[in-house]
Symmetry: C2
């Protein structure tokens, strides 16, 4: 068993031309013996966003806290704690924080994807 | 994209000799085109628990709310909102609610596992 508090993992920060106020952490991955899929968690600060991009693997996302919106191809969906979203492989997508607090979500990717 | 609120999914209830006060929901699975892994969410009521069992696939778990403990082989770990746990394939495990409120966790399994 591996058991951790997510806040005990050192975050990797992304704040550049495409990602704004994003902190990512690998929670469970290949280094833990998890060969099939990788669980990460992301915090997006107020007015922040993930990059608008696409890649040949899916995301299965669960929103832990905060408020935001997911853009996926031509669709847009408001999310909050308790929302779940599937981003299919190759879809163009972005997650934006639309609230005053940090948006926190778990995002699982298959083993073909980079872990962070 | 699939986007839902988890509470909008009808729960499957487990309350028997081995599972107590457990409600499970598939959030994202094969029916949505997710071929690699399945995201489920479980609610465990106060004094409830999942079955103590083992199976040949792993769990990647994120605790959304509440307080509980995870038993995995000979180890025991206290969990709360923000905890992440890897249950390796074939480990004997159980999750117990140790708090006054509902324990809620996301549990991801590979495609070889039953979805619920």
């Amino acid at each position: 068993m591996k058991a951790i508090e997510y806040t005990d993992v050192a975050p990797t920060l992304f704040d550049n031309e495409t990602a704004k106020k994003v902190a990512g952490r690998v929670l469970i991955g290949k280094a833990d013996g998890a060969a099939n899929f990788c669980m990460r968690i992301f915090e997006v600060g107020a007015e922040g966003n993930t990059p608008r991009h696409s890649h040949p693997w899916e995301h299965e996302i669960f929103f832990h806290s905060g408020e935001g919106e997911v853009i996926c191809d031509s669709r847009q969906y408001s999310v909050k704690a308790g929302s779940a979203v599937l981003i299919p492989a190759s879809a163009e997508h972005q997650i934006r924080n639309t609230g005053a607090n940090t948006l926190v979500f778990v995002c699982v990717v298959p083993s073909i994807a980079p872990e962070l």
